[in-house]
């Protein structure tokens, strides 16, 4: 119970809703999040307890203006281990969520899943890859893909 209530402390002040895609990044920023982008593939840490950011002010995403990509970056930051798992399997709800955030249409979802699965080792080149770096790699891969490039246009 302590854990639960401790969690609520930080979130208590937060009153913003998470916008479904398309409503702009502004609507997705919660108060009380600051710190360092997590490394990928570590233990699941409780990011919602306020020790994370979503890398838009730091790192390479600062210049990325595509809101969909920023939404994805934010989601990746807090769920990167599960996204990586689904990616390696080529299916899963976290991968679907990524597709939704990027606005990938149903018709292109299979291609999206395949590109990410086939290039897993490129997206996560080492055990120290951060989620921001993984996002950059995903965007680069999609830009090169005929079907998927339209979803990451700046």
């Amino acid at each position: 119970m302590k854990k639960l209530i401790a969690g609520a402390i930080l979130l208590g002040a937060s009153s913003m809703a998470f916008a479904q895609p398309g409503c702009g990044v502004g609507a997705m920023i919660w108060k009380g999040q600051s710190g360092i982008a997590p490394h990928v593939l570590a233990a699941t840490t409780n990011g919602s307890f306020g020790n994370q950011t979503f890398g838009m002010t730091t790192g390479t995403l600062g210049c990325q203006t595509n809101e969909a990509v920023q939404s994805m970056a934010m989601y990746m930051n807090s769920n990167v281990d599960k996204v990586a798992r689904d990616m390696s399997r080529g299916s899963g709800e976290n991968l679907d969520t990524l597709a939704v955030l990027l606005g990938v249409e149903q018709a292109d979802r299979a291609a999206f899943r395949k590109v990410l699965q086939d290039n897993f080792a490129l997206i996560f080149p080492s055990a120290d890859t951060t989620s921001d770096q993984a996002v950059d790699a995903i965007v680069a891969l999609m830009e090169k893909d005929e079907t998927l490039s339209k979803y990451v246009a700046a």
Binding site: K2, I5, S15, A19, S48, S88, Q117
Partner: protein, 621 residues
């Protein structure tokens, strides 16, 4: 400051009432007594007297300075305020859209929509079509979770491929406990009040992460059959509650209680709060919601630990051995042992191993230097296998948590203690013990609160308090090749203890730690090292301590539960002696709400043998 703002508020109301005089609508007598109004402002009848008090503890929730105690004053102030000219986010109409809508309908006031940019944006972002009550079930080794937790999820339209349930927002109510409070203060203020409670909105994926991945609790999602109007009211009222303080009490005005209030507002006449007496256990509140016919369908979301256990179980023994060797670093994820497996099996071994490594990293704090490279290798190896579906998700348990036995138990029994006959009445308000019907509860887990055993000895009509358990927790989590949880127990209360001459009621504190292993379906063996402390004037030195051991077998099934074993305690302070007990308990579950039980103890204590037995009936309410 407080006085100033109150004065300002009074002035504000005065100003409004004078301007509203001209167009005052006819307010039906007694409208302020309407259950809908009482719900909207969270009024409850006073225990003493005929008045009302609102459960809100926040001046910003009231428009009248007397609002906390006067439904009438608050209604008049609200009516005046919503008719005042001028709009915008700070106007009463925008701050209290649910009150506004209801009053306008009651009084036939013009219902032209007020422009409220902040509220409108909030509603558009939430994009809600249906509402789901989510119940985070208890997790075996986390007894503080045993009561469960509930929150609401606001589901976007399901036919929209651009939405997703993980991205849906949730509404929850939780205590805003000071981070610096120690455990004792935390418990005290939690029970007697003092922590503010606030309503917060967070994305569902954060909740899934907290409950499913970190706390390993299965989630049950009860989609409510609210109409669009009811969903609208629920959201409008949630907006009114945002950032408003309602003091938090663990037992009654807790996370679950506030959600019931919200549903009561959404569907007037539901009266879920009427079910709350002294405590609102989240799993009980889910029952009430189900009983009121509010649920359209239920979905199960297994936790990380449930999923990984199922994935490992899905593997053959040989494959499990490989998974274990890979996790321990003896075999490489791209090694020969894995390469020789058929494609599907290889994919499933990699999947299960990755999930296992991730689980252990979180739960057992495996060092990152070890877990991260291994995790990556596993995923890279898996990404080379195309077109193999992962192992399906674990199926939902046949009996849900809300379908288990009710938590309030009353037992009647007759028996003998050292040849003295007695009748015994046991009242146990909450929650579950190992001999209760196990369906809907975690196997091997026990949590009892405020259990009272009273005995009437028939030879001299002597009424005795046999036992008063303040709290008792047992967690027997089986160990296997992959998981090695500790089993443990702790209890505090007062119990009859034998001083050698008489049986006295002595406060006690006991605990134990050890292991447990599955021997077959539903059968587990456990062994615990224990420690007992008792305090009583009749003991030589006023208190006594005993290290000890407890070895036993437990069998749990929907029809029959059995527990037997041997316990030994070596008392060492007041008088050095052993207390050895053989115990056997059996319970026959006629249904989930009626059990017959029997219990036999044979004890060697103070150089003599004593037997005690009892048999009776347990009813669950």
């Amino acid at each position: 400051m407080g006085t100033l703002s109150r004065a300002a508020q009074a002035l504000f109301c005065l100003a409004i009432s004078s301007s509203a005089l001209a167009t005052e609508p006819a307010v039906p007598e007694g409208l302020y007594h309407d259950p809908v109004w009482l719900n909207l402002v969270h009024y409850q009848p006073d225990t003493f007297g005929s008045g009302y008090t609102s459960e809100a503890d926040d001046p910003a929730f009231f428009l009248s300075p007397d609002g906390k105690h006067s439904p009438r004053a608050e209604l008049n102030a609200t009516l005046a305020a919503i008719q005042a000219s001028g709009g915008g986010d700070e106007s009463a109409r925008c701050r209290f859209p649910a009150r506004d809508a209801w009053l306008r309908r009651q009084l036939d006031l013009p219902a032209d929509p007020a422009p409220c940019p902040a509220y409108d944006t909030w509603r558009r972002d939430l994009n809600t079509q249906t509402v789901t009550l989510v119940f985070a079930a208890s997790y075996l080794n986390s007894p503080s979770s045993m009561f469960g937790h509930t929150f609401l999820r606001l589901d976007p339209p399901g036919n929209d491929q651009n939405t997703n349930l993980l991205l849906a927002s949730t509404i929850s109510y939780a205590a805003d406990a000071g981070a610096r409070d120690n455990e004792l203060m935390f418990a005290y203020r939690g029970i007697f009040g003092g922590y503010p409670g606030v309503t917060s909105v967070e994305p569902y994926y954060d909740k899934v992460k907290l409950y499913s991945d970190i706390e390993n609790r299965d989630l049950w999602e009860y989609t409510l059959n609210l109409t669009p109007d009811e969903v609208d009211r629920l959201l409008a009222h949630a907006w009114e509650l945002r950032d408003k303080n309602f003091d938090y009490y663990f037992f009654d005005e807790n996370c679950a209680y506030r959600l019931l209030a919200l549903i009561d507002v959404a569907r007037p006449g539901t009266r879920l709060l009427d079910n709350v007496t002294t405590h609102a256990i989240p799993s009980d509140t889910v029952r009430w919601v189900v009983d009121k016919g509010l649920v359209s369908h239920v979905r199960y979301r297994p936790s990380a630990s449930t999923t990984v256990a199922y994935e490992l179980d899905h593997l053959t023994d040989d494959q499990q051995a490989i998974a274990s060797a890979v996790a321990d670093g003896y075999v490489k994820p791209d090694g020969q042992e894995l390469a020789s497996l058929p494609t599907t099996a290889r994919a499933h071994v990699l999947d299960a191993t990755y999930d296992y490594v991730r689980y252990q990293s979180t739960e057992e704090k495996w060092p990152r230097e070890l877990a991260a490279p291994l995790s990556r290798q596993l995923l890279v190896a898996r990404s080379h296998i195309d077109g193999v579906k992962p192992v399906p998700k674990p199926p939902a348990p046949p009996v849900r948590d809300d379908q288990g036995h009710d938590t309030f138990r009353v037992s009647l029994a007759g028996g003998q203690q050292d040849h003295r006959g007695f009748s015994q009445l046991t009242v146990r308000p909450a929650y579950h013990d190992l001999l209760d019907p196990p369906e809907g509860y975690r196997p091997g887990a026990q949590l009892q609160f405020l259990r009272l055993d009273a005995r009437l000895y028939t030879n001299n009509d002597e009424l005795q308090l046999e036992n008063l358990t303040a709290v008792e927790i047992r967690s027997l989590s089986p160990r296997d090749g992959f998981f090695s949880p500790l089993s443990w127990q702790v209890g505090v209360g007062a119990r009859r203890t034998d001083t050698g001459e008489k049986r006295v009621l002595a406060p006690y504190l006991d605990g134990g730690v050890g292991g447990s292993w599955m021997l077959g379906a539903g059968v587990q063996a456990f062994t615990l090292a224990t420690a007992d402390a008792e305090v009583d004037n009749d003991l030589n030195r006023g208190f006594d301590l005993a290290p000890g051991a407890d070895l036993g077998l437990l069998y749990q099934s929907p029809r029959v539960s059995l527990m037997g074993g041997a316990r030994s305690k070596a008392w060492m302070v007041s008088e050095q002696h052993r207390q050895d007990t053989l115990y056997l308990k059996a319970s026959w579950h006629l249904s989930r709400d009626i059990s017959l039980f029997g219990e036999f103890n044979r004890e060697h204590h103070y150089e003599r043998y004593q037997s005690e037995w009892q048999a009776g009936l347990s009813l669950y309410f």
